[in-house]
């Protein structure tokens, strides 16, 4: 297994460095990060680090998904200093969390980016209006002008990072054991937090080194889907049981880097196209297309099963398990669903890990 502790440390340091650029926290991969970068600001994924969101529960019900509760706590505590928040209307929980965050955390910029959940001419038109609206609000809040040139540069910058992460994903799946499951998960998360140029440089440099390295050990190959965000412990636990993750369909994984936007032409239209061309996430309804493509890819990567990791109280993710199980069975893959809570200690998932190991056996 390749030791990437240096890369992780570099990214951790950069992520923690607040730097000069204003930091805009984002909650969902649908947020148009290119607009933030084009305004000279730094997009930072809000990571739910808190394991005890007790202050958040004064605002949000304990039946709200733990990603949102813990993210809320993170922002409340002022640990992560954000100048702005860009949320999306992807789910009811995110919408309400955003409204309350906007109320209690002092922010220069707060925007709920309204994402259509269907793909029609009307929806594309509506999305273009919303992109223009968000762009305008960013310009106004930070007194900047987002030019076509800066937008094109931002698109190129994010495309480079996404492409680098995509290559890393292929390297880890093509050469199982080359990276620890937990290292890959952590690295993707950090790449969403560190300044764009640093993240791209670190991942690209890692790719160059890994291209020359063979896979070092194999195990039971599995895929992971769902919306787990900050749960390195889960990936480490899988590793300990000889399970090698060879692909994912995660909000904190491939859903971030699977698609690029067109760097030329009408840039806003390119951003809208990126959203519509991506396989719809569960919040846009059960997508056979996404599930089928994911399961087939897992098949090609030699996986024997898939684990759906759902945030407890995320209806959309949980609801798609029945279809995922059927799709997996068609390709002779086993499937299991585990419900996780970002706020619960890792040892709580011991039972879930036991169930996975049982399935694998």
């Amino acid at each position: 297994m390749h030791d990437i502790s240096q890369e992780l440390d570099d990214l951790r340091l950069s992520a923690a460095d607040e730097g000069d650029a204003a930091r805009i926290g984002w909650l969902c991969v649908h947020a148009p990060l290119e607009l933030i970068a084009a305004a000279g600001l730094r997009p930072v994924r809000i990571r739910p680090r808190s394991s005890d969101p007790r202050d958040a529960t004064d605002f949000l019900s304990s039946k709200t998904c733990s990603y949102l509760r813990c993210s809320f706590e993170e922002c409340l505590g002022g640990v992560a200093n954000y100048d702005g928040i860009l949320a999306s209307s992807c789910c009811e929980g995110e919408r309400r969390t955003f409204e309350l965050l906007k109320k209690v955390v002092p922010l220069t910029f707060a925007e709920l980016y309204d994402v259509p959940k269907v793909d029609t001419i009307g929806a594309r038109h509506f999305m273009l209006q919303r992109l223009a609206n968000t762009k305008h609000k960013l310009e106004k809040a930070f007194d900047v002008i987002i030019t076509n040139k800066s937008l094109a540069e931002a698109v190129r910058g994010l495309n480079m990072l996404r492409s680098a992460l995509k290559e890393l994903d292929h390297l880890r799946s093509g050469r199982p054991g080359i990276l620890a499951n937990g290292d890959f998960h952590e690295l993707v998360l950090l790449a969403m937090e560190a300044p764009l140029d640093v993240a791209t440089k670190v991942v690209a440099s890692l790719n160059r080194r890994l291209r020359k390295t063979a896979g070092q050990r194999d195990g039971v190959r599995m895929g992971v889907a769902g919306n787990v965000v900050n749960r390195r412990g889960l990936f480490d636990a899988l590793e300990d049981r000889g399970i090698v993750v060879v692909g994912d369909d995660l909000c904190a994984g491939s859903r971030f880097y699977a698609e690029n936007s067109a760097p030329s032409g009408d840039i806003l239209e390119g951003l809208a196209n990126r959203y519509f061309q991506a396989a719809p996430c569960p919040m846009r309804g059960l997508s056979r297309k996404r599930q089928s493509a994911f399961i087939q890819e897992l098949g090609r990567r030699g996986a024997t099963g898939v684990i759906l990791v759902a945030q407890r109280f995320c209806d959309a993710t949980s609801s798609e398990f029945a279809a995922l199980k059927i799709e997996a069975a068609h390709h002779s893959l086993s499937a299991i669903r585990i419900d996780l809570d970002e706020s619960s200690p890792d040892d709580v998932s011991a039972e879930s890990i036991g169930r996975i190991v049982e399935m694998v056996a």
């Binding site: 019900s61 409204e99 269907v118 009307g122 995320c314 959309a316 398990f321 029945a322």
Partner: protein
């Protein structure tokens, strides 16, 4: 094993005959209604179920916020699985549906109502649809339940996308989609979709709206019988039916002519009531308290213009009270609390309902700080999914009584 489970297992074409028989039995049981309004409501509901199960007319499944006015104008029967979940639970079939949904892999953390729907679809307890219309509103379980049903029955699904924002461009976007929904209905249901039909259902909808406005005004001084108040909440899928307007007219008349004074303390109810087995409602009633108004019964939309039906329906859809921001919701609740002179607020936070539950702690704190005591009751609409008791309710009611 309950009688219904045994019957269901025996019945051919599984639940359809069973459910129809039960609907008739229910009507028989309610042949001695408290009032004419109850009779109209029961007849309307049972006839709608019969239309759906007997397939006398095309059946279109609709989710919350999908406009039944368009479905009715197409000569089809709007069928709301979310509303029927309560009926299923009332028949005692909820546990078998929940078990089936669990077998299919649904997490127990998902909304019990939609788990029941998914289970009922799998057990073929619901009327087969000719088409489905779903909305992307505050409920994410809803969309997947409809996609699942559309696939299961191999029928076309129209998804009406409702944005989070409620500005002019959001209304225009929804109005544009409603035009597409009309087209969808024409193509899938294949009935004569005359403009006159839509005008007629819009007029019926307006009549019902007008009666509801009058009824809401009356409720500031008189109390509705328990049955009618519950029935009122299940009216949403019937907007556009003449019978709904009749029901509300008669209810207004009856309430005005035999006024009942509300008990004390006076309560405002947030989100929907647990229809299926209203233990909490009964407990409130036993304690002498009254639910004088429900958030869900607000008339939040303006009168619809029959000359511009789609714009009006878009306005109605986008302005739905559940789409309001947290702050708008608090403001609206404070206004209601004042208008209805309530002593306290009870929020029914179904564990699986993100709209109902997400911001409830903040909302209740805001209400309490404004001098309105408020309590969240984790009461599930589907009895089989219930885990928590309602003991804090007793304490809350006692406190309110003490303060009165």
């Amino acid at each position: 094993m309950s009688r219904w489970k045994r019957i269901m297992r025996r019945s051919l074409g599984p639940g359809l005959i069973t459910v129809l028989a039960e609907a008739e039995r229910v009507r028989g049981r309610l042949e001695r209604p408290n009032s004419r309004a109850s009779q109209i409501l029961t007849d309307m509901t049972v006839e709608a179920l019969k239309d759906a199960y007997s397939r006398r007319k095309p059946v279109v499944w609709i989710s919350l916020l999908a406009p039944p006015e368009i479905v009715l104008a197409a000569g089809a029967v709007p069928f709301s699985p979310e509303s029927v979940t309560a009926t299923i639970a009332w028949m005692g079939l909820d546990d078998v549906c929940l078990l089936e949904s669990e077998r299919l892999g649904l997490s127990p953390a998902v909304c019990a109502s939609h788990r029941t729907t998914v289970g009922a679809v799998s057990l073929e307890l619901l009327p087969f649809p000719d088409a489905l219309v779903c909305t992307t509103d505050q409920c994410s379980a809803n969309l997947n339940a409809f996609v699942n049903a559309a696939e299961r029955f191999n029928k076309p699904l129209f998804t009406l996308d409702i944005p989070a924002e409620r500005d002019q461009s959001a209304k225009a976007y929804v109005a544009f989609q409603l035009g597409q929904m009309v087209q969808f209905m024409t193509e899938t249901v294949k009935t004569n979709f005359g403009r006159d039909g839509l005008v007629s259902t819009i007029e019926n909808s307006n009549r019902a709206r007008e009666s509801l406005v009058r009824l809401n005004e009356l409720r500031k001084v008189v109390s509705l019988p328990k049955g009618e108040a519950i029935g009122l909440n299940s009216a949403t899928p019937h907007f556009g039916r003449l019978e709904l307007a009749d029901f509300l007219d008669v209810l207004c008349h009856e309430a005005a002519n035999s006024p009942k004074v509300a008990g004390s303390p006076r309560l405002l109810w947030l989100t929907t009531k647990p229809y299926a087995s209203p233990l909490v409602i009964e407990k409130i009633s036993r304690q002498g308290a009254s639910i004088v108004f429900e958030e869900a019964n607000q008339v939040y939309w303006p009168e619809l213009d029959p000359g511009r039906p789609l714009s009006g329906l878009a306005e109605k859809t986008v302005s739905h009270y559940a789409r309001a921001s947290v702050e708008e919701r608090v403001d609206s609740l404070l206004t209601l609390a004042d208008e209805y002179q309530v002593d306290g607020v009870i929020a029914s936070s179904y564990p699986g309902c993100r709209y109902g539950a997400t911001a409830i702690p903040y909302i209740l704190t805001r209400l309490s700080r404004s001098g309105i005591p408020a309590l969240s009751v984790d009461e599930d609409d589907v009895p089989g999914a219930r885990k928590e008791d309602a003991s804090p309710l007793d304490e809350f009611l006692e406190t309110l009584k003490g303060a009165a």
